[in-house]
C-alpha cells in the first residue's frame, strides 16, 4: 500500500495552493467584511481549469481524477471556505450529477459549457421548510406537454445569484406511495422566465461567498432536461450529496491545516511568562490535537476519493470523512482563536474567520447529526447500499483524456 501522493497530485496541489494564495488570499479579509464574492473568482477559477478538474476532457473538463478534486478542495479552503464552496456546488453537485445520471445527449449538450466554466452550475435542493428531511420538499413540477412547470422556492443555495444552470429536485409525482418516491430532478436554466434569485446576508460565516435563495413561479423546463427518470430524484440527490460532501470533507481538512499553521506561527511569536507560548504544555496539547486531526481527516477523504476512482460506492466513507473533518475543523478553529487570545477575538488575525466559516460545514451538506444516523445504519446493518441504476463512473485515465 503506497500512501504517497503521485507526482501529478503533488503538482496539482501546489498549483492550486499558489493560485489561491495569489488570487484570493491578499483580499479575502476585505471581501469577507463586505459580505460579497469578489467578481474575479469565478472567471479566474474557470480560466485555470479548476471548475472541471475531474470531468472528462471530451465533456470540457481537465481529465483529472477524483482525488485531484479533493486535493484542490483542501488547498482552496486553506485560504477560504468560499472558494471550496464553488467546487462543491459547480463541480460536485452539478457537473458530477450530470456525469453520473445524465444521458449521453445531456452530457454532450450541457457538460462542456458547464465544466469549462462558460456557464456556472449549482445544485438547488434544500427549501425553507425542508433540509434534513429532504423528502418533505415542496417545489412542484407539473407536466405540460413537452415541458414541466416548476413552482416553489429553494433556500440556502450556494451561488444562487451566480449560477446559470442548476440541478433542481422537485416533487412531480404527487400521489407517490412514499414521499421520497415522488421526487424528480431537472437541469434548470436559471435565466428562464419566472426564476428570481437573491443573496442571503448576515450569515455567520462564508461571507466572501454567495449563498441565497431561488424562487420559481411557473418556470417552464423542457422535459428533455429531466435528469434520470421521473421518481428517481431522491436517489439522484443523495448521489449528488456523496460528491458535494466529499469536497466539504476535503475542504474542512484544509481549514484544519490553516488553523494549525496560524496557531503554530502565533505561538512561536507570542511570549508569556518570559517564553514563547508554544513552550507551554496546554498550548502544545491544542496544537497536537489539530496536528493529529489533520492527518486523520486527510486519510479519510483520500480513502473516499480512492473509492470514487475505483468506482466503488463510498456513501459511508464520504459520510465519515465529512463528519470527522468538519467537527475537527470547528474544534481546530475554536482552539486557534483561544491560542490567539484577545487577538483571536478580532479580525486582525484570520482565525475568527476560520471559526465562523467552520460552523457552516457542520450544518450543511447533510448535518453531522444526519451523518451519525447514516453511519449507525451501516454499523447496525439496517442500511445497505443497493446498486444504483447509474453509478458514478470509475476514473479511467484513457477515457477521461479522450478528446
Amino acid at each position: 500500500m503506497d500512501f504517497r501522493l503521485s507526482s501529478e497530485h503533488e503538482m496539482i496541489r501546489k498549483m492550486v495552493y499558489d493560485f489561491a494564495q495569489k488570487e484570493v488570499a491578499p483580499s479575502i479579509t476585505e471581501w469577507d467584511q463586505k459580505q460579497d464574492m469578489a467578481p474575479h473568482i469565478l472567471p479566474k477559477m474557470a480560466e485555470q481549469g479548476l471548475l472541471g478538474i475531474c470531468i472528462p476532457v471530451k465533456y470540457g473538463g481537465q481529465g483529472m481524477d477524483y482525488i485531484s478534486l479533493g486535493l484542490a478542495s483542501e488547498e482552496l479552503e486553506f485560504v477560504d471556505t468560499s472558494l471550496r464552496v464553488v467546487l462543491s456546488v459547480h463541480t460536485g453537485l452539478c457537473c458530477l450529477t450530470l456525469l453520473q445520471w445524465g444521458t449521453e445527449e445531456q452530457k454532450a449538450e450541457f457538460l462542456p459549457r458547464i465544466a469549462s466554466g462558460e456557464l456556472i452550475g449549482g445544485g438547488a435542493f434544500s427549501e425553507p421548510g425542508a433540509g434534513s428531511d429532504f423528502a418533505a420538499i415542496q417545489m412542484t413540477a407539473r407536466r405540460d406537454g413537452d415541458d414541466f412547470i416548476l413552482n416553489g422556492e429553494k433556500m440556502w443555495i450556494s451561488l444562487a445569484t451566480k449560477a446559470d444552470m442548476a440541478v433542481v429536485t422537485t416533487r412531480s409525482l404527487l400521489d407517490a406511495e412514499k414521499p421520497h418516491e415522488g421526487l424528480t430532478c431537472f437541469l434548470v436554466d436559471l435565466h428562464s422566465k419566472g426564476v428570481t434569485t437573491g443573496d442571503i446576508h448576515g450569515k455567520l460565516g462564508v461571507r466572501a461567498g454567495s449563498t441565497g435563495w431561488i424562487a420559481m413561479q411557473d418556470v417552464r423546463v423542457p422535459a428533455r432536461n429531466m435528469i434520470g427518470e421521473e421518481g428517481e430524484g431522491f436517489k439522484i440527490t443523495m448521489s449528488a450529496f456523496d460528491n458535494g460532501r466529499y469536497t466539504v470533507a476535503a475542504g474542512a481538512t484544509g481549514l484544519i491545516r490553516a488553523a494549525l499553521e496560524a496557531s503554530v506561527k502565533y505561538a512561536s511569536e507570542r511570549e508569556t511568562f518570559g517564553r514563547p507560548i508554544k513552550e507551554h504544555q496546554l498550548v502544545q496539547a491544542k496544537i497536537a490535537r489539530m496536528h493529529l486531526n489533520y492527518e486523520i481527516a486527510r486519510l479519510l477523504y483520500l480513502k473516499a476519493g480512492w473509492k470514487k476512482n475505483e468506482g466503488i460506492r463510498n456513501t459511508l466513507e464520504t459520510s465519515r470523512a465529512k463528519q470527522f473533518a468538519t467537527n475537527a475543523s470547528f474544534d481546530a478553529a475554536s482552539e486557534a482563536v483561544q491560542i490567539h487570545g484577545g487577538y483571536g477575538y478580532s479580525d486582525e488575525y484570520p482565525v475568527e474567520r476560520f471559526l465562523r466559516n467552520s460552523k457552516g460545514a457542520v450544518i450543511y451538506e447533510g448535518s453531522n447529526e444526519i451523518q451519525t444516523l447514516i453511519q449507525a445504519g451501516y454499523a447496525l446493518g439496517t442500511r445497505r447500499d443497493r446498486s444504483l441504476r447509474c453509478e458514478l463512473p470509475a476514473y479511467d485515465e484513457a477515457l477521461w483524456l479522450e478528446e
Binding site: 501529478e8 503538482m11 498549483m15 481549469g49 478538474i53 481529465g63
Partner: protein, 259 residues
C-alpha cells in the same frame, strides 16, 4: 528560437534554516523551483509563443532536482535536462558555470540562455555572467524587459534594472540574460503541463557526457555554523498619529546616537 532556461532546486523561503551536525538543514520543508527562475521560465515561454522554437529547462543537481525541472515542464517548457554527477557535490559557481556552459554547447544551436536573477539560497547572482563568459556570449544581467527581439537578424534589445534607473542595451544573439521580477507575471502550471511533467522521463547527463574540462572549485566550505543568537529588545513608539510618531522616533534615534 531555441531557448535554454537554467533553473535550480532550492529551499522554500518559508523554511526554517538551521545547522545540525555541521550541515545546513531545512527540516521536512519541501524543495521548490527557485522562485526567481519562474520568471525566467515564463519569459522563455513568452518568447517561444511569439517566435516559435523550444524551451529546455536545464539544471545541475541530485536526482531530486528533477522536481524543479518538472515544475518548469508543468509551466509549459518543452524539454528538460538534468546534469548529475557525484563529483559535483559541493561545487561552487566556477564549477557549475563550466558545467552549464558545456551542456549548452552540447545541446547546440541555442539562441538564448535565461536565468533568474539569483538563487534564494546562495543569493550570489553571478552564474549568468560566468556562463556567458565561458560561452563568449553577451551577458545581460538584471533584465526587466525585452523590448525587441529579432531572430532573423539575431538582435536583442533589453532594459536592465539598475539602482540608477533603467539601462537600454542592444546585443546580438546568442546571449545569456538574467531576469528580474519586473519582467513578467509567471503563469501557473496547467493541468496539461502537470500531466506531461509527471510522466516524462527526464534525460540525465554526467560531466563526462559534456566533453568539456571542469575546473576545481575556487571556494571551499570550511565550517557552517548557526548565526549567533541575538537578544532583541523592541520598543514601541506610542503616538496619536503618524507625524507625532515620526517625531518621537527621530528623537529616540538621536538619544541613541544613531542619528
Amino acid at each position: 528560437m531555441n531557448i535554454v532556461v537554467c533553473v535550480k532546486q532550492t529551499v522554500d523561503t518559508a523554511a526554517v534554516i538551521s545547522v545540525e551536525g555541521g550541515m545546513v538543514s531545512w527540516g521536512d520543508t519541501p524543495l521548490v523551483l527557485n522562485p526567481w527562475d519562474e520568471f525566467a521560465v515564463e519569459e522563455g515561454l513568452r518568447i517561444r509563443e511569439a517566435h516559435g522554437g523550444t524551451v529546455t529547462a536545464l539544471t545541475v543537481g541530485k536526482e531530486s532536482a528533477q522536481e524543479a525541472l518538472r515544475s518548469a515542464l508543468a509551466m509549459g517548457a518543452d524539454e528538460a535536462l538534468l546534469i548529475k554527477d557525484d563529483g559535483l557535490s559541493g561545487a561552487d559557481s566556477l564549477v557549475i558555470s563550466a558545467v552549464l556552459a558545456g551542456a549548452v554547447q552540447k545541446l547546440g544551436d541555442v539562441d538564448l540562455v535565461l536565468f533568474g536573477r539569483e538563487a534564494v539560497d546562495s543569493n550570489a547572482g553571478v552564474l549568468s555572467a560566468q556562463v556567458a563568459r565561458r560561452l563568449h556570449w553577451p551577458s545581460l544581467p538584471l533584465v526587466a524587459c525585452i523590448s525587441a527581439l529579432d531572430p532573423a537578424s539575431k538582435s536583442l534589445d533589453v532594459e536592465r534594472m539598475l539602482d540608477q534607473g533603467r539601462q537600454h542595451v542592444r546585443a546580438s544573439l546568442p546571449a545569456v540574460i538574467s531576469v528580474v521580477k519586473e519582467i513578467n507575471e509567471p503563469r501557473y502550471a496547467s493541468f496539461i503541463g502537470i500531466r506531461k511533467a509527471s510522466r516524462v522521463d527526464i534525460p540525465v547527463w554526467g560531466v563526462d557526457d559534456l566533453g568539456v574540462p571542469v575546473p576545481d572549485p575556487g571556494v571551499a566550505w570550511l565550517t557552517v555554523e548557526n548565526a549567533p543568537q541575538q537578544d532583541v529588545a523592541c520598543e514601541f513608539i506610542e503616538a496619536p498619529d503618524e507625524v507625532a510618531a515620526a517625531r518621537a522616533l527621530v528623537a529616540r534615534l538621536r538619544e541613541e546616537k544613531v542619528l
